[in-house]
Symmetry: C2
Subunit: 635 residues, 2 copies
Amino acid sequence: MKNASTGFVVDTSKSPYAKLFPIPIKNVQIIDEFWAPRLKIVREVTLPSQYRLCEKTGRFANFRRAAGKEHCNFQGLFFNDSDVYKWIEAVAYSLAGVHDNVLLNLVQIVIPLIMAVQDKDGYLNTYFTFERRNERWTNLKDMHELYCAGHLIQAAISYYRFTGDRRLLDVACRVADHIGRFFGAGKRLGVPGHPEVEMALVELYRTTGKEEYLDMARFFIDNRGKGLVGGSAYHIDHRPFRELTEIAGHAVRSIYLNCGATDVYMETGEKALLDALTKLWSNMTNRKMYITGGVGSRHEGEAFGEDYELPNVRAYAETCAAIANVMWNWRMLLISGDAKFTDVLELALYNGVLSRISLDGQQYFYVNPLEDNGHHKRQNWFECACCPPNIARLLTSLPGYFYSLSKKGVWVHLYASNIANVVVDGMNVTITQKTRYPWEGDVDLVMRLEKMAAFSLFLRIPNWCQKPLILMNGIELSGPIKRGCYVEIHRLWEDGDTVHVSMPMFIEQIIANSNLIENNDKVALKRGPIVYCIEQVDNPNIDLKNLILPAEPVLEAKWKPDLLNGVVVIEGEAFLIEPIEQNDNLYFSLSETKTKIRSVKFTAIPYFTWANREQGPMKVWIRSSTFLSSINWKN
Amino acid sequence: MKNASTGFVVDTSKSPYAKLFPIPIKNVQIIDEFWAPRLKIVREVTLPSQYRLCEKTGRFANFRRAAGKEHCNFQGLFFNDSDVYKWIEAVAYSLAGVHDNVLLNLVQIVIPLIMAVQDKDGYLNTYFTFERRNERWTNLKDMHELYCAGHLIQAAISYYRFTGDRRLLDVACRVADHIGRFFGAGKRLGVPGHPEVEMALVELYRTTGKEEYLDMARFFIDNRGKGLVGGSAYHIDHRPFRELTEIAGHAVRSIYLNCGATDVYMETGEKALLDALTKLWSNMTNRKMYITGGVGSRHEGEAFGEDYELPNVRAYAETCAAIANVMWNWRMLLISGDAKFTDVLELALYNGVLSRISLDGQQYFYVNPLEDNGHHKRQNWFECACCPPNIARLLTSLPGYFYSLSKKGVWVHLYASNIANVVVDGMNVTITQKTRYPWEGDVDLVMRLEKMAAFSLFLRIPNWCQKPLILMNGIELSGPIKRGCYVEIHRLWEDGDTVHVSMPMFIEQIIANSNLIENNDKVALKRGPIVYCIEQVDNPNIDLKNLILPAEPVLEAKWKPDLLNGVVVIEGEAFLIEPIEQNDNLYFSLSETKTKIRSVKFTAIPYFTWANREQGPMKVWIRSSTFLSSINWKN
């Protein structure tokens, strides 16, 4: 058993095929104006409110019932246990960073509730008790028992790592051992209908050192594609995992499975797994991902669609899928140290994840359109409430994503003002970041060392950054600084060394691959890592769908400290088409249509802040005359 | 019992609230170059091939099995009986027009198969026999028993009307009587999960005069919205029918139900029904219908989507839904004599229906995209084969849609060379149409009368026709001829009177309502009633999605007798954007994208002929610089 103080989210510190090793959450203190207030809201508002909602919706009652302490019917959906587990995981990460008596007391009420439910044989699931006891493990395809077990294991590991309290970890090991007695080589064949347990089992292996947990994770990956859960792409059971080339099926299931396979790879180094993962990643990012990092475009089956099937109004883009996207890219990054994974992680984090929770930390999106007529709004909770605690656990674990270590030194993945304590070759190094990121691209790092030491500092230059510049103690680094990669500064570091990273943020007009036909002749506005949208409330007299950006628009970024908790907006001029003599018909002859065009000013806001004020239409992809107007002068 | 020789599809001849009355199919002889060859193919190729497929797929075997004549398992889906019934109906319409020994012999083999299955109590469904006998009428929501009964009744009526043979009609009456003993006021409550029996029962009332059948149809409409089949919009059970304002749910179910309600209205005149139907029709045509007349845009649930949810690539637009659209508009027309219904009927007929069957009459689309990457192709048959015999019965009944009678005279709805015999005030009138419609808009009508008679001739002027002209015996009708309505010519008709209708066909660029955002900055080409598309095979070196029509394109219509069995194509010049330095990425910064633009010639073909040659991309909505280029000169 490892030391309880490691406090890693994904503990690759002993993984033979990981390139990067983690830094404990507690060692990174975020002190900026962007993330720190958000994490505070999660801690003080979101997590307590989710506790209340778990109580109100019977999620805790289900545990009391299963333990024989309360007489009632099972409440809600059969996988509701998992929401409680994700809440515990979120609380554990939060406690790792900041002591909070409220959360500590609440979680210490919940842990015994769970422990009391476990059967002598290790089984633990509040749905399959009493009248449903005989149905245990009879329907892996639909009933999410392994999924719930996975979340229990993850919660237990986190709680153990951040509190040292191993009670829930012991429960989780008994659950895993119970699963291991049923399933495995020479025993019963089976795979989970909803992957998730795979990454949990690998993490349990990392936590306990017991190889059978790694074997079980591999077993659940090896046996996919055999029709054990129906053989559909929805269940990612249509083909053996190693033969997959295109990402398909239920998006969260699909990416959770990829997370598990990536975790297995980091322990086994099996090339076939990495090959499949690489293909799946390329297919996803080049064909099936929204500009926000959201994935799973199709409502039907909450699934990945065909290549380039990325509707804006009818985007599904489940919140949990964007979270899963962060989780998977983090793991791919740990394998490779390749900044292309960090780019997607960052994109999904600022746009795909952050947009899913309201600024007040109490309302959530489940479905995430990129264009809306004004009816879509965040909810307090959902009958299927997978997303809210999933956001919470991602955000509370965020400090763990900022840095890594490798054999050569320290890696800086994300930028925000923070103080990080890392141990390089046994020596404490303190790194201070000062920046207004993501609103400005200047970052000042100060290195504090006990003594001089030679190692490398790897600085991520995002791929969006067209003109990066690095100053080492005020002197520009020689040679071109490439973007979309990590710049290695190897030197004999001295106490007080400073590094300045300049990543100028320009307002960029993004166009989509022309195969993404819905976005033909449209552009999205992006600045740094932030994707923008236009929302009705900022543009009261403009019919957003008829706003057209000219070929070379005048666009200006402005810091608005009082708007939406402080954002950089983009202001610009564009054209508005006003159709006249257009009745309610769906189709018109162009020859009978008259329009007038006028110039208007408009304001765009970060996509992640939309739907926090009065409801109204919103759109990310704005019509543009870029290509079409050029026809005229070339004609 | 009415005379067996009436031969109507929808027999409103005694319906008190119908404005228009039918002309028997056999009285209209289509002799043109467009429809006549198609109807011949349906008769000689389609219907015999469907007979073989019904045999091959066990549909006939299911009847033999249920009659105890063959020992096998039930084959296929539980509603497969309905395909046999639709085939019979198609054959009956076909036989009404043209004697065909092959079809007559085949249908006479099938009729006894069906008769042999009927139980003494009147029940008839091959799925619910033997081991499933006890499940009869236990699941109206899912099991399509009333749906199959409806198709049996329709087949029986048609076969009786066109052959005088009442054996199957007697069977159908016993089925209906059996249903009536189970369901009705004071008996069991219930509605069909899949509407269809409603219109069948009204037609059975019209055929037999028995009011209980009309009462049953009304009962099945009255009891919707009570949750009897689950209460979902999918089943159109979310709200009482008379309270519906937006068309929703499974498209075929929804429109079949509307057909039934329209039929009930024609008998009862209940205003609340007509009010609901009017709202549903407006919502459908102004918000949820493709430019082709296809409906039901959403894959999920084969359903109507939200307002303006009309994706091109991911259109569902089931074949049967377009057919249902024709059926419903026909009924709305019979109520009203309003040409807006004929406009939609014609649109759906030439584009939404005709595109669903291959030129050789043997392959069918089930799903009908308006843009495709080249993978979509017609199939010989489907496991769920509702569409193929549905197309067949619509096309074989087509002669019945050309004319109607009203108290004031004769109505001309559709144009094609034909000879029609109608009876006006007891006198035989022969109308001869000569035209190259739908390729040219000139129609010559010659009236042959036994003696002079005063009545009105109502000529439909399609709404697409911007400059209609009518010559009566060579002299232009005075006053403006309005389009989108029926022009009434009341006179004392003499033998040999001629009417010339001139409906000049211009190539029109159609734009969609700007709320249909996917089609912003796109146009579709249309000429007369025909919607065009561009297909890769005609435009070999053009990336269709990057083809852009200039603001005022040069477009030319050309008759191509050897192409696709003879079509008018549209040839034109447009611009092609060729992105360079564009890698495989999904998203690019515009500032880093370079494009070149060149002028190209392109050819568009009628949408209904697509996918009849080598596979390749196709699209209906073409990018256009119309609005955007105007920005420059107005700027």
